[in-house]
């Protein structure tokens, strides 16, 4: 019988914090600036410059730690990780090796079998991001942009507690949701504000010892992560079956080719010579500081779900989906606050919004329409100013460019014609023009009325209330 293998996975997740400024200097972290316009002597590693810790970075790191059941380190410090690379202008990265800010936590995930399981968090530490290297197309050189240098990161190191790609994704989704609810980061894999490195090894089922692990980098979507895990599991099992050894190394995943290649092996592993950074003084986390951060913790998903159940008359299914993304929940609450129609808001979010997000590949954070405009649209339908199919058309435009639906409906003349006389006249014409359908109806084919409603709507260019059309039709027939 073929041997059965178990996959053992641990993750290192880097999250870019949503601060306005960098971790150690007052430079902006905004995206899209011209190269090196968000830099200063500190983040370009000029001699004599001195770093000062951004308090918000510490508060976010502690907030994430508290939300993931970590112990908060009460006496912490920063260390220098020494290596030479042009994206690192100081020739060291300021990080935390000896006394990371958070330790020994965990998050609960649901397993495929429907059970629950805790994925342990070994530690969370604060560190700075590196600059960006651009390879010159014309000359034999590289160019460096230090705008990202010094952008604050937290690295969340899990225990090797995951056993499948599904568990890894469940863990990442949980982590992302917690961090988004805290407002500590937008956690976008595609844009790199959340990056996951996968440490993976395989062993025979029942074995006590872990196998040799590899580290996989360059994974920028959940799909890529799942594929990389499957690919690496197969590669390691093949090696073992052939009697070869798995080499401990860092590998880079190429998602288009669906394979990975070795970047560097442990033999030429770097010796980072960590030592305490003398430029940064120790961090003492007081009880008051912890209480303050605890008091500021937002309502997390489970609490939100309970409150929705209490406050809004919507099904559990809706609650589950809406609270699944912080931005969606915010949008829901803000819209309901204006129009007080929870179920209708929920229907728009779960129906058209999600359909268009999928169709146009838009992330929930990038939704453009405002709660005000969605509320206006709902009111327009409620007051029968427009019918539901016109509303869907208007919503598609709102989805693209957040237009004011009231103005739009007015300008485009989309309002339902409530003039019964005009409607009656059109219906009379439709009846006269479609004797066959009229006969069918009289001969008991109830469905024929649908065709006549359709013809009327067409003649009215969609601007009629279908209920009213139905009523008048029946009356005239």
């Amino acid at each position: 019988m073929a041997k059965q293998y178990e996959t053992v996975i641990g993750l290192e997740v880097h999250v870019e914090l949503a601060t306005k400024t960098k971790i150690f200097c007052g430079c902006s972290t905004a995206f899209g600036g011209a190269p090196n316009t968000h830099t200063c002597p500190v983040c370009t590693g000029m001699p004599g410059s001195l770093p000062v810790l951004n308090k918000q970075v510490l508060e976010y790191a502690i907030a994430v730690g508290l939300a993931t059941d970590c112990e908060i380190t009460r006496y912490g410090k920063f260390d220098r990780k020494n290596y030479f690379y042009p994206d690192n202008p100081q020739n060291y990265q300021i990080s935390q090796l000896y006394l990371p800010i958070c330790r020994n936590g965990g998050v609960e995930i649901e397993t495929e079998e429907g059970g629950k399981k805790i994925v342990g968090i070994h530690e969370i530490h604060m560190e700075e991001d590196a600059g960006k290297l651009v390879h010159d197309e014309w000359e034999d050189c590289s160019l460096v942009d230090y705008n990202r240098s010094g952008v604050p990161l937290i690295e969340i190191v899990s225990e090797p507690d995951m056993r499948s790609a599904e568990e890894v994704i469940a863990y990442l989704e949980k982590l992302r949701l917690i961090i988004q609810y805290l407002g500590a980061s937008d956690c976008k894999l595609q844009e790199g504000s959340m990056r996951a490195d996968v440490n993976l090894s395989v062993r025979e089922v029942g074995a006590e010892e872990f196998g040799t692990r590899t580290e996989m980098k360059n994974l920028n979507s959940f799909k890529a992560i799942a594929r990389a895990i499957e690919g690496e599991r197969e590669r390691q099992i093949d090696l073992i079956e052939e009697g070869k050894a798995v080499v401990q190394e860092t590998r880079r995943w190429d998602d288009t080719k669906g394979e990975s290649y070795a970047m560097r092996s442990k033999e030429d592993a770097q010796d980072y010579r960590y030592f305490p950074d003398p430029d940064l003084v120790p961090i003492i986390v007081s009880d008051e500081m912890l209480d303050e951060i605890r008091a500021k913790q937002p309502e997390f998903r489970t609490e939100k779900m309970a409150r929705y159940k209490e406050e809004y008359d919507i099904p559990d299914y809706d609650i589950d989906i809406i609270t699944g993304a912080k931005h969606m929940a915010d949008l829901f609450e803000a819209t309901v606050a204006i129009c007080n129609q929870p179920k209708k808001v929920s229907n728009w979010l779960m129906g058209e919004t999600m359909r268009l997000m999928k169709e146009k590949e838009v992330d929930v954070e990038d939704l453009r329409f405002s709660p005000e405009n969605l509320a206006k649209l709902i009111t327009l339908v409620d007051s029968k100013a427009i019918n539901s199919s016109v509303a869907k058309e208007v919503f598609e435009v709102m989805f693209e460019e957040d237009i004011d639906p009231e103005k739009y409906v007015e300008e485009k003349g989309l309002k339902t014609v409530n003039d019964e006389g005009a409607l009656r006249k059109t219906i009379e014409e439709v009846i006269a023009g479609n004797p066959q359908s009229v006969d069918d109806y009289h001969n008991g084919k109830e469905k024929a009325i649908g065709f006549l409603v359709g013809q009327t709507m067409k003649a009215m260019k969609g601007k009629a209330d279908p209920g009213m059309v139905n009523q008048i039709l029946k009356e005239l027939l």
Partner: protein, 97 residues
């Protein structure tokens, strides 16, 4: 000198520090490093049981900045220190991941 630094060690430290040393410089560095380690050994004679490792000399802690943008664009000035620049960026030898 109690600490003898091997050729391999000097070679390795040189690689880590990105230093190219001549033979004469290597010999000198071996002696210097040996003396430094002897001095550290001397410190090791002290009984430090139960003493927390110290990372800072001064009793200063919790020095923070508020999260407010205070720096403006000083690119020209920063790039003026660069041996070479192009398109607002620092030019470095071709480097791959």
């Amino acid at each position: 000198m109690a600490n003898i630094i091997s050729d391999e060690t000097i070679e390795y430290v040189g690689i880590l520090a990105k230093l190219e040393l001549s033979d004469a410089e290597k010999e000198q560095a071996k002696k210097d490093m040996g003396r430094m380690l002897d001095y550290i050994d001397k410190l090791g004679e002290l009984d430090t049981d139960g003493v927390e490792p110290m990372s800072h000399v001064f009793p200063v802690q919790n020095v923070f900045r508020e999260d407010m943008v205070t720096n403006s664009d000083t690119r020209e000035q920063l790039l003026s220190n660069a041996p070479e620049q192009k398109d607002g960026m620092f030019v470095v030898p071709k480097t791959f991941d």
